[in-house]
Symmetry: C2
Subunit: 413 residues, 2 copies
């Protein structure tokens, strides 16, 4: 399916104008970066590159797409028709950390094609990175306990799939979203809902039905009527080998220790406790001393925990003033109030506890940019994010509001 | 394309359990409502029904979907295979206003099928209504001036399309999103970007190129270098018949009157002013006395202006305790702390400045529920929303934080 129309109209009308003057074919470089993090955030996690690996090659102007572009003249239609994009895209690897000014993605090629990618690239990176950045804080707060993403019903049905994927990249263990399992290979899991218990004549009958079908390893939702009686019913039905109970209401600071004590008293010492219900990184952190086994997180992770977009912008940083594939690139930058950008293509490196960007490649540090992969490897991205989170400076791990934990320095080689 | 996997795993495992006991085939009713509005909001606008009209019939368990459900046993697979859902869905018409407790959508049919719709229904209504509810406040704040939705790059690439549609339903005039134009018939528009100006040797050259291609009726972005000079250049290039200028930086309270005065002094008295740059309902309202002609809104509208999800839940409210199509429905409600629901199917009516729900149909007032339409008519939804906004009580139009402007009363007939 073509992704060509997942863009803003002005990209096409600008293209039309620059095709007339020849500027469309000039060499140009666009960079994606953020001017600031969400208020109080100390770092971000960039995600979505694997999805872009699939979506960018689908930017094809086929007959159906062109039919919707009836405002374009013949020159633009001819230029677009069936055109495979020739731009080179480099990016931070998916799952890597970033701060303001990090050039997380670079598009290099002809100016006209650069225009065509702006909106799609930003949509994917802004959404997926917002989720991954929030999820990473939850992963840090959970201190090694597994997290289940279950927020699909709180966001657009396709954003839900991407959110499950981004949360997994950031270190969540599981998702409830079946399409994320099918499309991206994210492991899926689930418990049961209050409706299930309510539909039965009694809680005991509901638990019996669930255990008969799914086995004693299942997770029983115990708070539909009375949590204490629910736990007693759960162990009575499933036995002390019951997999887990889920608590979805009340104050988990009170309910979790109480549930643990009761399960232990009933002999269900191996039965795990899954906590759900409007959790975010702060409530997860507050439960660090509580005997929680798994956190189920919904709304807050899929909506970026208060910051549903990552703030990335896509800016022209260099353009040739002459035609031809070898014409020299000239740095450009706008001077709008409060929106100054640094001109010129930037190469980014990390090392010695700092990031630097240079206006030419080379020099000390680990290069942060690499070609956009041709396939979506979510498991590799997840492993990379785990490494990146492990390498964070201590102040970056703090959940209280603060400045970015490091800055990007512009270094003149 | 099947939408069957845009759901949570537990819906399928619960289905499997209730298929074993026969409960899957029992009559049941589920209702969608919200327990509260986002903090300070006085009403909401429900949207997404037209999308559900298309997505719900695509909940089909074909071979590809079933292949992904390898955790299900044979009975469930057989029951699901190719099954057309027989549930009856009623809903508030798209674009109607709501408050906490409004039963905006009702699913009536067999319990097993009701489970299958929960996640998809909530994803669509929660996303689209969050956008429409925020957009409606912007429409009220704009006081009749047109609004352009241009936030696609700040949200998931498919959510962007639905957001453009929801904003249009709520009264936005235009979107920049081309796929929203193609898929939903939302009128599209665009201006140009800073990159376009920067790529040219001068602003005058850029404006000349744009006007040569798009005509003098186009909108020129005048703040790339210096806004005053930009306006002078724009009128010098396009003449006094220039369509519009766009201001995207600085304080619009200062910049807009200054731009208007300069345009008028240059003789461009008919040239409109488009203002963009992190606008929300509050900054739009603050510009009521300023000579703005069009507001361009991005991030805030597509992210629900601080409330990216509408808070709808999908709850079982009645279920038969016996088999058969005529078995009586028995009201059910859970008693979890803070999450009490009212049992029984509810019929909603509006009239005399209040909403009532009744546990049987009939009585005074305009019925708010109707069958889910079979097609997506975004223009009808937009007209309906305009009527609903015109009928709002005065206190509902206030942008400052406050309680819901009306309540839903449960009336015993």
């Amino acid at each position: 399916m073509s992704t060509a129309l997942l863009t803003d109209r002005y990209e096409l009308t600008m293209l039309e104008a620059v095709l007339r003057t020849g500027l469309a074919e000039r060499r140009a470089v666009f960079e994606v970066f953020t001017r600031r993090l969400p208020v109080g955030r100390r770092f971000g996690v960039v995600a979505g590159q694997g999805r872009l690996a699939c979506l960018v090659p689908q930017v094809r102007y086929d007959d159906e797409a062109l039919a919707a572009l009836d405002f374009l003249g013949q020159q633009a239609r001819t230029w677009l028709r069936g055109r495979p994009l020739g731009v080179e895209v480099t990016a931070y690897p998916e799952g890597e950390t970033f701060v303001p000014g990090s050039p997380v993605l670079t598009v290099s090629g002809c100016f006209g094609e650069g225009l065509l990618l702006e909106t799609l690239v930003l949509s994917v990176l802004n959404h997926d990175s917002a989720v991954a950045s929030a999820a990473a804080r939850m992963v840090l707060a959970a201190g090694g306990r597994p997290l289940l993403e279950m927020g699909g019903r709180r966001t657009h049905e396709q954003a839900a799939v991407a959110a499950a994927r981004a949360a997994y990249v950031a270190g969540f263990a599981l998702t409830s979203n079946l399409e994320a399992g099918r499309r991206h290979g994210v492991p899926t899991a689930g418990t049961s809902a209050h409706a299930f218990t309510l539909a039965h004549r009694s809680e005991v009958e509901a638990f019996g039905s669930q255990v008969a079908t799914l086995g004693t390893g299942t997770t029983l939702l115990v708070d539909t009527y009375d949590t204490e009686q629910g736990i007693r019913n759960a162990v009575a039905v499933a036995g002390t080998g019951l997999g887990a109970v889920r608590l979805d209401s009340g104050d988990p600071q009170v309910e979790v220790p109480r549930a643990r004590a009761l399960l232990d008293a009933l002999g269900a010492t191996g039965t795990r406790i899954v906590v759900t219900g409007d959790l975010d990184e702060h409530s997860i952190a507050a439960l660090a001393g509580s005997p929680v086994d798994t956190y189920g997180v919904g709304t807050s992770v899929v909506t970026g925990s208060g910051s549903p977009t990552a703030g990335f912008v896509y800016k022209l940083v260099a353009v040739a003033q002459e035609d031809g594939p070898d014409a020299p690139l000239v740095p450009v930058a706008k001077r709008s109030a409060g929106k100054t950008t640094v001109g010129g293509r930037k190469w980014a490196y990390r090392g010695d506890g700092r990031d630097v960007v240079r206006l030419r490649p080379g020099g000390p540090g680990r290069p942060l940019q690499q070609p956009l992969p041709s396939t979506d490897d979510v498991h590799a991205a997840r492993a990379r994010c785990a490494d990146a989170l492990a390498a964070l400076p201590p102040e970056a791990r703090r959940l209280d509001p603060g400045p970015p934990a490091w800055t990007v320095e512009i270094e003149d080689l």
